[in-house]
């Protein structure tokens, strides 16, 4: 399939471009790469204070609970919102050379994925500080992160395409994501806080809520997430991603005419 051969062909560029974007981001700051650690750490402290102290949140390992959620959410949020204006932002490139446009999505995921990995490093430290009991369930982080990547990529391809043609897309997406932010349960447990039948469905119907809950379950609480739901979202994610890639291949050569 063309998608896989193109992915292979541009892998080198993606890595290089993501690296240089990361370097460029911190090139002129005093603290340099320290920001990659400082940034998520500070936000975690703010949220832990607001929701732990002011709103009296009651989850075991509360700071880690928030931080796991925030880490995965930030990756998803930044990538997908960034994808809306991605083609326009890269006008200089797409005007001059042909690249499959989802390569831009890869680069973005590379940049934010790297930051996510640093955050996961911090999570490991926090787990050590809290003396969280480790179980084999921890290994389930890998398939869950894979699902996160696929869902993110799927969302990016679709929104990247719509963002080219629909001028107001970014306003709509910003509002929708604010809603999603609150229903995904970053500061509270969706399952425990929502009344009985709704809680479980809020988890099942929202892939991000499911991923966040799953990550916490296997990292912090030694539980196994519902693997049937996992499989369903994996299939849906792959199908949407395939559709998104197909749409991009079909229309991408028109992008240069619009922007």
């Amino acid at each position: 399939m063309r998608f896989f051969s193109d992915t292979k062909k541009y892998a080198g560029y993606v890595v290089r471009a993501a690296k240089s974007q990361l370097k460029a981001e911190v090139a002129n700051s005093y603290l340099n790469w320290v920001w990659w650690i400082l940034d998520p750490l500070c936000f975690m402290l703010i949220y832990a204070f607001i929701f732990g102290v002011v709103f009296d949140g009651r989850e075991p390992y509360f700071a880690a609970f928030i931080f796991v959620g925030l880490t995965a959410w930030n990756f998803f949020n930044k990538c997908v919102i960034g994808s809306v204006k991605m083609v326009k932002k890269n006008k200089a490139i797409i005007d001059k050379v042909y690249i499959p446009k989802f390569v831009l999505a890869y680069t973005r995921m590379g940049v934010d994925g790297f930051k996510m990995l640093i955050s996961f490093g911090i999570i490991i430290c926090m787990m050590a500080v809290y003396r969280v009991e480790l179980t084999w369930n921890v290994l389930l982080v890998i398939p869950l992160l894979l699902l996160l990547l696929i869902i993110t990529f799927a969302g990016m391809t679709i929104l990247m395409h719509l963002g080219v043609f629909v001028e107001d897309m970014s306003n709509i997406v910003t509002i929708l994501f604010r809603l999603l932010f609150y229903v995904t349960g970053i500061f509270y447990s969706v399952y425990k806080r929502l009344p009985a039948p709704y809680g479980i469905w809020a988890l099942r119907l929202n892939p991000m809520a499911f991923i966040l809950d799953g990550l916490r379950k296997c990292l912090l609480y030694g539980q196994t997430p519902d693997m049937r739901i996992f499989a369903i979202w994996l299939v849906i994610g792959c199908l949407v991603a395939a559709l998104g890639v197909k749409i991009i291949y079909r229309y991408e050569n028109g992008y240069a005419k619009v922007v």
Partner: protein
């Protein structure tokens, strides 16, 4: 071997800008009456062949579809109908400074831009010394590009595209950049590249002298259609008379 003669074959190419205008949700809400999509056909049924090693000039007044045609050949635009066959040759639009990260060094940007143009890391590593020495930026090559003067910036950008060569080169206005000395050097380099027997080149230019000096044949586009194609002298005489 007969079809190997041609490097580029274009058959009945149509490219239009249509219904691809981006729209706002509000506008389409309030304008329930469906507005007729504006169609602007930039290229209308163009056919031509270019032999391997030939240098084709494309002339025509502004808005005659020259740049659109060039971008279609480079694969940036898709044609609405018609065929473009490049027989598997690598092609590049001579584009300057693609994908530069201004906060990073010149050396890093050579890799970045080169890989975007479709070269592998090894290919660039082989040529990087040549690029650096051609650009002649001295110690500035390891400084961030944002510290460059505009002349230095274009020198670096030109060197990347000129040294990482492809089988088919598409040139939108022959580039001469930098100070007088680099201008001379870059013009000579361009000429060497263009004159290479294995390389097929298409040049779009408004400069009649450039076309007359460099091209083996000329295509005259008018309102998106081929007005005339053939021997450089003949077409240019007719074109210049028309433009008077």
């Amino acid at each position: 071997m007969d079809n190997q003669k041609y490097a580029i074959e274009v058959k009945d190419l149509h490219i239009s800008y249509r219904c691809l205008k981006s729209f706002s949700v509000k506008k389409s809400f309030f304008k329930l009456k469906k507005s007729k999509p504006e169609i602007y056909e930039a290229v209308r049924g163009v056919s031509f062949n270019v032999k391997k090693g030939d240098i084709l000039g494309i002339v025509g007044k502004n808005g005659s579809g020259k740049s659109t045609l060039l971008r279609a050949l480079a694969g940036i635009f898709s044609p609405d109908s018609g065929e473009i066959d490049l027989h598997g040759y690598t092609v590049s639009l001579l584009a300057i400074g693609v994908g530069f990260q201004r906060a990073l060094s010149g050396r890093e940007n050579i890799y970045l831009s080169g890989m975007l143009l479709g070269f592998s890391e090894e290919q660039i590593r082989e040529k990087i010394d040549e690029i650096i020495s051609f650009a002649g930026l001295g110690k500035f090559i390891d400084m961030p590009v944002q510290t460059y003067s505009s002349g230095m910036y274009s020198k670096l950008a030109f060197s990347i595209t000129a040294i990482l060569e492809t089988d088919i080169m598409l040139i939108d206005e022959v580039l001469s950049v930098g100070d007088a000395r680099f201008k001379k050097k870059s013009y000579k380099k361009m000429k060497d590249l263009i004159m290479d027997e294995d390389r097929t080149v298409i040049i779009v230019s408004h400069n009649s002298d450039t076309i007359r000096n460099l091209c083996t044949s000329v295509l005259w586009l008018h309102e998106g259609e081929v007005r005339m194609m053939g021997d450089t002298g003949e077409v240019m005489d007719a074109y210049e008379e028309f433009m008077q």
